[in-house]
């Protein structure tokens, strides 16, 4: 839509180009502060919702949609969206086409022989608008139902205080099946992101993090357990590097060849829960 015509107007930047013509001002009847436009458009749940808004704004009944007027306003919004380079959902464009079609059919002389159902080109649109409006309202009704955790708070006795709490068992298999499920959904299987080696690094990351969180400044060397041998040192080193990369700790050396310290970057807070 918007062709960037090299506009000579210095005094005022055109606000938008509608069909090539520069627009310095939004039409009065649909003025929205530009910065609010995005939020405004996000407030609509699609073309039917936008149409309902346009109709309701003029205190009109759905049954009496002035197609020409509404179509024009609708199309203006769609153009606005484009000018602001919103990713314009196909649904909005489909609706624009549908409106245009209804409009053109209404401008034609009505064939007299058609039965009533087909006589009014708006019938299908009206049906859809009404249907949508019902559920829009139903959604609001549901939102107002007393909801657990917001309006209703079920109360129970503290379970089984006399004997240790009954806790469900999990088998490793269940855990693995769960992981499989979530991985498949997240399509993480496409690459072998996590492997045995990295798991031990991850475990070590937790340990290092806990240690430095407890102690604040920690000597770099204190993080290594030499009795673990070369393998252990490497794992710890990788863990420190990974933590550093994730900005969870900082490696500090105050002077050249000085002692290297490691300190937590997460604000030093550690929940001991």
């Amino acid at each position: 839509m918007s062709q960037v015509t090299p506009g000579p107007q210095q005094q005022e930047m055109p606000f938008a180009y509608v069909q090539g013509a520069p627009v310095t001002e939004l039409p009065k009847d649909l003025y929205i502060p530009p910065e609010a436009l995005e939020i405004f458009l996000e407030a609509f749940e699609g073309p039917l919702d936008l149409l309902l808004y346009l109709i309701k704004r003029q205190n009109l009944d759905i049954l009496e949609i002035p197609i020409a007027e509404i179509t024009e306003q609708y199309v203006k919004y769609v153009e606005l969206m484009q000018d602001f380079q919103f990713e314009l959902a196909a649904e909005y464009l489909v609706m624009a086409a549908m409106l245009a079609e209804i409009k053109s059919r209404m401008l034609l002389p009505r064939p007299e022989l058609l039965d009533d159902e087909e006589a009014d080109p708006r019938a299908e649109l009206i049906r859809r608008l009404q249907e949508y409006e019902r559920f829009k309202k139903a959604a609001m009704d549901i939102d107002e139902l007393p909801r657990m955790g917001r309006d209703t708070f079920p109360v129970y006795l503290e379970p089984n205080y006399s004997s240790p709490e009954q806790e469900a068992d999990i088998s490793m298999k269940e855990l693995m099946l769960a992981l499989q499920g979530v991985m498949q959904r997240a399509a993480m299987f496409t690459r072998h992101n996590i492997e045995r080696e990295t798991l031990s690094v991850r475990e070590r990351m937790s340990m290092v993090l806990e240690k430095i969180n407890n102690e604040g400044f920690t000597r770099f060397t204190a993080l290594f357990e030499y009795k673990e041998g070369k393998g252990g040192v490497v794992v710890t080193f990788l863990a420190i590097l990974e933590l550093s990369k994730q900005q969870l700790l900082e490696i500090v050396q105050s002077e050249t060849y000085g002692v290297i310290h490691v300190k937590p970057l997460s604000g030093g807070t550690l929940d001991n829960d």
Binding site: G46, I67, G149
Partner: protein, 223 residues
């Protein structure tokens, strides 16, 4: 559950005298059971905790629950019935204060989610495609997932059309969550006004006139 094995005796007789369960005792047992149940509990599950003899009077549980509902009518908690049974909950006038016990703000749900939920509730079983048709926009997978995850909605089968789309319906948990006994306790849907009537009343001459006066007739053709 804890069946006494006393097969030779006329157990009926002895059981009753042994247990000496007066209606009042039944009531207080039911009270404790519902409080302890950890979620809404059905009459059947409550009954299962009594022996047959103890419940010789079929209606005693009903009576107990009725009385309990009355006992708690004016208190800080109330006894309510939802789809999967009975539960105690904070009474209306104490609920806002109880809410302060948890610092978390209750989750808000988007209109898209609520509309989708409404369509499933009122139109079940319904496919995602059918929901999209009515809403006029596509429904994100995220929304369907959240609804299933929350256990408000589940797949109850697949429609026998190409692609075999899943059909969704609401669950028992959905009803419990919104404090409903049955689906028909949902607020009623607005009527759809009859199109025949509309058509009869429509007057195209007028319509076109209003359009004319609307002065939008320079008519840039909307593509």
């Amino acid at each position: 559950m804890t069946k006494e094995s006393n097969p030779s005796e006329k157990s009926d007789q002895t059981a009753i005298t042994l247990d000496e369960l007066t209606p009042e005792k039944i009531k207080y047992s039911v009270e404790a059971i519902i409080f302890a149940a950890n979620k809404a509990i059905s009459l059947e599950k409550i009954a299962a905790l009594f022996s047959k003899q103890e419940l010789s009077d079929k209606n005693c549980l009903h009576h107990a629950i009725e009385e309990l509902m009355q006992d708690y009518q004016q208190r800080g908690v109330e006894l309510v019935e939802v789809n999967s049974g009975f539960r105690f909950q904070a009474a209306q006038n104490t609920a806002p204060r109880v809410a302060r016990l948890w610092d978390e703000k209750p989750q808000k749900y988007s209109r898209a989610l609520l509309e989708t939920l409404a369509l499933i509730a009122y139109r079940q079983p319904i496919t995602r495609g059918e929901i999209e048709e009515i809403r006029g926009v596509s429904v994100s997978s995220q929304i369907m997932r959240t609804l299933v995850e929350r256990e408000w909605v589940r797949i109850i089968g697949h429609r026998d059309v190409p692609g075999k789309p899943a059909m969704y319906a609401t669950t028992r948990q959905f009803l419990d969550y919104f404090g409903l006994k049955k689906l028909d306790e949902l607020p009623s849907l607005d009527e759809i006004r009859d199109l025949d009537v509309i058509n009869a009343e429509l007057d195209f001459g007028d319509m076109l006139k209003t359009e004319e006066t609307g002065k939008h007739s320079k008519d840039k053709q909307p593509d």
